[in-house]
Symmetry: C2
């Protein structure tokens, strides 16, 4: 046997200079690069307030700043950092800016960033329990903790103790879209089985439902899962329900589909729509869906975080009767991207559709049935250790601080709302449920039409965003152009909201003055 | 008008103690928490070599170590870090360990971790160009750089300069599975349109193809996209092609499906299968697929990274004739999770299926058609700034160091392979293409059967993994239990490979000795 010990000199891959090789995790480099990154972040957070929120760059700008071809040789890390500062930062839309009021904020915290950093360094891939026991169990624990903060029924919680697995459980995914997709697929497959479909032959008969205010990504997820575009129902809403889904209307639409030979399969209810923060009535929707044995998913991506406060929890009333719920701590629970939590009442309904069992991943723990293999609850196999940052946020700040964070944002939004309401030129378009204020310049003064107001609002938004001192996005509610003012960027303080209101006030005065001058001329 | 200026005292959300509020990004905390995290990482990398690679913990262990309920009050960050060290680290499977030889390594580097850290802190959400111009353009640039390193045809590259968008382009996703899913959906929709299907009525007639060695996640992605399980073809392979897909066999299967009235839609070719690193012949497969107008995707998740070296590039020959290719720098290009690069020859075929256009995301840049909105090339809407870490890796290390990294891993694998080959007790089961060695104890000595050898190999793997000094996974090739020895963990040096071989050598001697004793008794 020519074992190694008998011929050690032949056993070298590199010859004599092996020790001089490239070490991508050289300890000095790791420490030095990360300290430089921390310095950058520290400087960035200090200066971001003074940077234009929305950059003034043209498409393709970066290609003119950086080399169009990759370098052959290595460079000192300082060169990389210099290019980051000189070329990348000036082209960023600064989501971390306290003057960012667009979309929903991507909130963040020191604990979350530290947790994410450690996850990047450990770089574990927790597809099975065995491949990362602590990462899997930390994710399970973090989800159970958050479920408790949200007062979700225990039927949604993981059970991996001595009693073995129950049917409830959760998983951390990258986006709400993935949560929708995996539950849609589970509901689809269950409906096909129930209807005795051969393979997917019954797919053209399945129908899915959501309010027209539901995020566009839901309708996309339905198409990804193969639902027939003709059977994806976008149910109209209106001011009579503050743009929430009307259960009576849902019942009519589902019954009509049954009468036409279709199979109602899935209903998506939203708690806090992206457009205007409408809240679909979860319990009433669950009752309607139960008539048809359809899966009900609750998308609480943004507003779910608020439900850790008792005063907002009622928005989830009825959740004990739905099949799944998702919310994204990367939106409003101080946990940096990406982190979407999905809980389901019966994980077997997910794993029936999503389980894989290749030889190279087989192991005793999985075969014992006593562990959760999280790959079987998501689209892919690989996965970051996302549970760490979420746990670190809850462990470090505790429930009280997290509630304080929500309440502070809501209080600032209410303050802004009060200012809008106290100014006759504006109207608040829909009731403010959380920390988003939907408002607009309303027709005022002589002869100003709704169309004139739309134009003024569009002009106001563009003027505000061009200043670099604030960034607001818009929506359309009831055919009217509406400004969305979303409070909550994690560096935001009351003074930033105050300044934004002053800027809106002043800019509106200028716009209206210009319009009067133009009309007179 | 009750503007703010006229009534400033009323404009406070919190009253007098506003300044005492909770600041999740307090500058002192950010710096302090991140420095503690860097210290942890530094210590971790120094000590991980001596930690058991595979932990000795039982399912549910973490719940016994940590509180089962979230804390109400905040705690010093040191408490969080202490629990991390005391309870989480001992339950980790250490992918960063230099003694990790399982699966494929998740390689990493100082530059990547720093880039990922900065991305976490900036926390930008680049769904549209306007929402993050620099993040979008950095991703486009990084993909073009990597395409150049891989010598992909320019038809796969992004074009966002003055000439406007071409048809080629790429996107960074979380996993290969997502790359498969979005291209499957694009191919599915195109096939349905071509076949004149009403909605998805034609879906049960579409068929998809891959070798039986293709990753299980491909077959799962097909089911997610709604393909009929009966039409998902897993084509047998064997030793005559070293477990690569035989184009002649593919042609037969596709033709038989056409003859049976099915519509061949998509073929997945793998460059470097997970089980044994087989390489499907890309060009020949593209030629077969072209006969049927089927989409061809190349999954080069692991081995794609090697193709930055001229001596491995031939494995991608013919790629200019495929529709899409994906590879994961988080596997073998020193970029921490998650980072999967997907390039497609015609991005419109992706965006036709994946585009959304809700009112609240509309903006002038998107409407100009001169920018890439990356949400339209992925499942979800939200997305991390993943391009930064990938660019930082290429910018800092340069092509030469990255090639050195690949060659060093391959040289160590070859060294290991040579040791195996020089020992009569073992056999190398398939040719080693990259840095994975598939080997096993072969029947040797008096009367040892193949089944005995399978049992000995299983025992060898379990013994090795129980020592904590090495972690290997297995596969099954041609019905034989085979050990996979994957070189490349980023802290790995030649001495670790040497130690692992010595351990394998010694453990095998012990196992065989025990068997002889048992036989004699």
């Amino acid at each position: 046997m020519g074992s190694l010990d008998t011929n050690p000199t032949a056993f070298s891959a590199f010859g004599d200079d092996a020790s001089a090789g490239f070490q991508p995790l050289n300890p000095d480099d790791v420490r030095s690069y990360l300290h430089k990154a921390v310095d950058f972040i520290s400087d960035y957070y200090k200066s971001v307030e003074s940077l234009p929120v929305l950059p003034d760059v043209k498409p393709g700008y970066l290609r003119n700043e950086l080399s169009s071809a990759p370098p052959t040789s290595s460079a000192p890390f300082d060169v990389t950092m210099k290019e980051l500062r000189a070329s990348v930062v000036p082209g960023m839309t600064h989501w971390a800016s306290p003057n960012f009021f667009a979309f929903f904020p991507s909130t963040n915290s020191a604990a979350a960033i530290a947790g994410d950093l450690i996850a990047s360094a450990m770089n574990t891939v927790g597809f099975t329990w065995q491949a990362a026991p602590a990462a899997t169990e930390m994710e399970v624990l973090a989800l159970d903790w958050l479920a408790q903060l949200l007062r979700l029924p225990s039927s949604f919680m993981n059970r991996t103790g001595a009693a073995g697995r129950g049917t409830g459980g959760g998983v951390i995914l990258g986006t709400t879209s993935e949560a929708m997709l995996v539950t849609l697929v589970a509901a689809r497959d269950a409906a096909l089985r129930r209807s005795g479909s051969q393979g997917v032959s019954g797919l053209p008969r399945l129908a899915v439902y959501a309010a027209d205010q539901t995020h566009s990504t839901f309708f996309k997820a339905c198409r990804l899962a193969g639902f027939d575009p003709a059977n994806i129902r976008s149910i109209p809403t209106g001011p009579e329900t503050d743009y929430a889904l009307d259960p009576a209307r849902l019942l009519e639409v589902m019954q009509a589909d049954v009468d036409a030979g279709l199979v109602p399969t899935y209903v998506c209810a939203t708690v806090g729509t992206t457009s205007s923060n409408a809240v679909d009535p979860v319990g009433a929707i669950a009752d309607v869906a139960a008539v048809f044995n359809a899966w009900v998913h609750v998308d609480a991506a943004y507003a779910g975080s608020a439900c850790i406060c008792p005063e907002f929890r009622h928005h989830l009333d009825g959740v004990e009767r739905v099949d799944s719920i998702s919310m994204s701590p990367h939106k409003w629970l101080l946990t940096c991207l990406d982190c979407t939590c999905l809980w389901v009442r019966d994980t077997h309904r997910l794993t029936d559709s999503l389980e894989t069992n290749p030889e190279y991943l087989k192991n005793d723990a999985s075969e014992s049935g006593n562990v959760t293999d999280l790959k079987d609850m998501q689209v892919g196999v690989g996965r970051r250790f996302r549970g760490l940052k979420l746990w670190m946020v809850m462990r470090t700040y505790g429930a009280a601080k997290l509630q304080e964070h929500i309440r502070s944002d809501v209080a600032m939004a209410k303050m802004f709302e009060d200012s809008v309401r106290s100014d006759d030129r504006f109207e608040v378009v829909v009731p403010r449920n959380f920390a988003l204020v939907c408002f607009r310049i309303k027709p005022h003064g002589g002869g100003m039409t709704e169309e004139d107001a739309d134009e003024a609002n569009r002009e106001l938004m563009e003027c505000l965003n061009r200043t670099g001192k604030a960034y607001l996005a818009h929506t359309v509610v009831d055919d009217r152009f509406v400004l969305r003012f979303a409070v909550g960027s994690s560096l935001q303080e009351e003074r930033h909201v105050r300044s934004a209101w002053e800027l809106i006030n002043k800019t509106t005065t200028e716009i209206m003055q210009d319009k009067i001058v133009a009309a007179v001329e």
